[in-house]
């Protein structure tokens, strides 16, 4: 419970940043809350918003968000054995699948404790994520985005999410390749395309991973 609340507080602070950026990007409060409540995936929401704010099409924005949601497939598979057997509960629990709830559940050795850790974390994080989104949205009119460097918060958020992954050589290779692809494409393609194309950087990571398993 304590761990669930600690995670929720940290996520809530990020929610404030998301809410502020959504408001700055011209989204209504209802749209910002719909993203936080219905999509409920911080990085996917930020990616979709980032593409939309850069002037990308709706399709490019949705595709960028879905690329970041793709890891939920892996979480869902890992969690499948820990969730209740009834289909209705599984359908409801699925909406709570996020990085934090998956990590909390998978860290528990016993099935009943894993389920409890999962829904406690999922619900607490959802509550503070929505509260943070609303607070950030409301605060935005009062502050100037450029003066306070808030426009640098989005790339910094992604940098902070990326940093722990850079210790894994396959992920570091993927990140370097993906970043290079995106940088090269920015002047020549529609907004959003560089981010989608960067997923080809995975090939570099797969090569590194294969070499390391052979060595």
């Amino acid at each position: 419970m304590r761990q669930a609340i600690a995670m929720a507080v940290a996520v809530g602070a990020v929610g404030i940043a998301f809410g502020a950026l959504a408001a700055d990007g011209g989204l209504s409060l209802a749209k910002a809350l719909a993203l936080s409540g219905l999509v409920y995936g911080g990085s996917a929401q930020l990616a979709a918003l980032g593409v939309a704010v850069e002037g990308g099409s709706g399709g490019a924005s949705v595709a960028a968000g879905l690329l970041l949601s793709a890891r939920n497939v892996a979480f869902g598979v890992a969690l499948a054995a820990l969730l209740p057997r009834r289909l209705g509960r599984r359908l409801a629990a699925s909406q709570l699948v996020i990085d934090q709830s998956a990590a909390a559940a998978l860290a528990q050795p016993r099935r009943d404790r894993a389920w409890r850790a999962f829904w406690l974390t999922g619900l607490w994080v959802l509550a503070l994520w929505l509260a943070g989104t609303a607070a950030g949205w409301a605060l935005t009119g009062a502050i100037d985005i450029e003066t306070y460097g808030i426009d640098a918060a989005i790339p910094a958020l992604f940098l902070a999410l990326l940093a722990p992954r850079m210790r894994n050589p396959a992920e570091a290779a993927t990140a370097l390749a993906g970043g290079a692809i995106a940088l090269a494409l920015v002047p020549f393609t529609a907004p959003g395309i560089p981010i989608l194309a960067a997923s080809a950087g995975v090939v570099a990571g797969l090569v590194v991973a294969r070499r390391r398993t052979r060595a």
Partner: protein, 102 residues
């Protein structure tokens, strides 16, 4: 973002979240697919860092954001907490913008 885009993203994300628990049950994903899915966030995060730092209306630009994100990279590399990394980026970007002549 339009409502259609928001609802499409919500539906697609939910489908991905629910795919494992509802369809596959306890069966594992093919190992090759798991490897690709595990690497995707690194590629996409890196791309977003680059595009949101240097991109501006389809052009590459070097401005105050680069200084802020560069400082944040040092903080992240030194294992600073999440919010410190974001705070450093905002503070350094704001500071560079406040410099006379900037």
């Amino acid at each position: 973002m339009s409502w259609a885009a928001i609802l499409a993203l919500a539906a697609g994300t939910y489908a991905m979240k629910a795919a494992g628990p509802v369809l596959l049950g306890a069966r594992p994903l093919p190992a090759r697919l798991v490897g690709v899915v595990a690497l995707l966030p690194a590629a996409v995060f890196a791309a977003l860092v680059v595009v949101d730092t240097f991109g501006e209306n389809g052009e590459l630009m070097l401005d105050a954001r680069a200084a802020g994100v560069g400082a944040a990279a040092v903080a992240a590399w030194r294992d600073a907490p999440f919010l410190v990394v974001v705070g450093v980026a905002m503070a350094v970007t704001a500071l560079v913008r406040a410099l006379p002549g900037a």
